[in-house]
Symmetry: C2
Subunit: 189 residues, 2 copies
Amino acid sequence: MALRHAVLAALLDGEYSGYQLAKAFDVGVANFWHAASQQLYAELAKLESEGLVTGRQVVQKTRPDKRLFRVTDAGLAELERFGAAASKPSFIRDELLVKVHAADSIDGGSLIEQLQERAAVAEAKTEFLGGLLRQLRGEVDEAEFLRRGERIGPYLTCLRGLSFERDHRDWCVRIAAVLRERQGIHAGR
Amino acid sequence: MALRHAVLAALLDGEYSGYQLAKAFDVGVANFWHAASQQLYAELAKLESEGLVTGRQVVQKTRPDKRLFRVTDAGLAELERFGAAASKPSFIRDELLVKVHAADSIDGGSLIEQLQERAAVAEAKTEFLGGLLRQLRGEVDEAEFLRRGERIGPYLTCLRGLSFERDHRDWCVRIAAVLRERQGIHAGR
DNA sequence: GCATCCTAGTCAAGAAAATGACTAATCACA
DNA sequence: TGTGATTAGTCATTTTCTTGACTAGGATGC
């Protein structure tokens, strides 16, 4: 009963097909929620049967037909209700961190590689989110956009994502350096 | 097939009962993995049946008896194998962020309150993790500890947790301020 | 001219995780 | 003297997630 609200929140940006929604969950929404496309199709069907979203068929010539969904008034009411209720505490789940926690018992070389790779991914995502933010705010500067923009929700969560990715990148780089130095010390004995 | 490695990594710190493990998953391990105590008991039973951990009964007078677990050589080998394999991408899941994404459609007052509350929690966790780090490194300074400490894995993941919480707190404070200012603008019209 | 990618989904099986209830003794507090 | 917290778990059910396979046509690249 939680994915549904992430879907509703994502659909506020406009009409989406399940496929497009899955894309959104790979980029902006990924800053706070992850879901596979099959889950999204299933959730959309459930939301539709409950009347929280409506879909309309769009026939396409060069592409398979699709169904575009948007949030209904009942969906908005449900979001409103959700917004007022208590939130579950957030959680992270990260296998790379599990490995680092076990760093003293596993192969350092491989770990360093993975940290560098992850740092590169985080760096790429940092740049991507930077671009996305520029796109979302358009011509105006950030402070002005945040004061008077019409749809700032996605912007705010992207800000969080950007900060997270930067921070994560820095940590990865630093930890890789720490592990490299320790390898040098061990090799030098 | 993922919780098992988090459990193995956590058990590297020494012998733990299921109950103690659950505590660890609420503090240090929470920086990268979340699990309910029931899951941990179940996972420990599975790991034991596969020979990756061994448990020994400890009879207590004033407390219920408990079973302390430690990682076996087979468990270490499994961790080693896990360390060399590719990691799944990490994911965050945060209902508060879902709400912020939908900020334009839900009640601002409640959201601001929740952001402030979350900021306070993050602040408390920041302080807690700071203390934990001091405790982990003992008398030596950080650079020295990271160069020559014996068990740095938990320290490194706590560093990540600390950074995350600080960052999260700052974001919460800032977003609450942004939403407050927007409320002022609306009220002023 | 063939291979692969992209759009746009659907289906089913099985693993993993979340939830809620329950036991039972001890200790701290008021 | 009783209320609640702490230690130390167990059991069962439901929900959610993951994985892999499958359809099908058009676009793109080599």
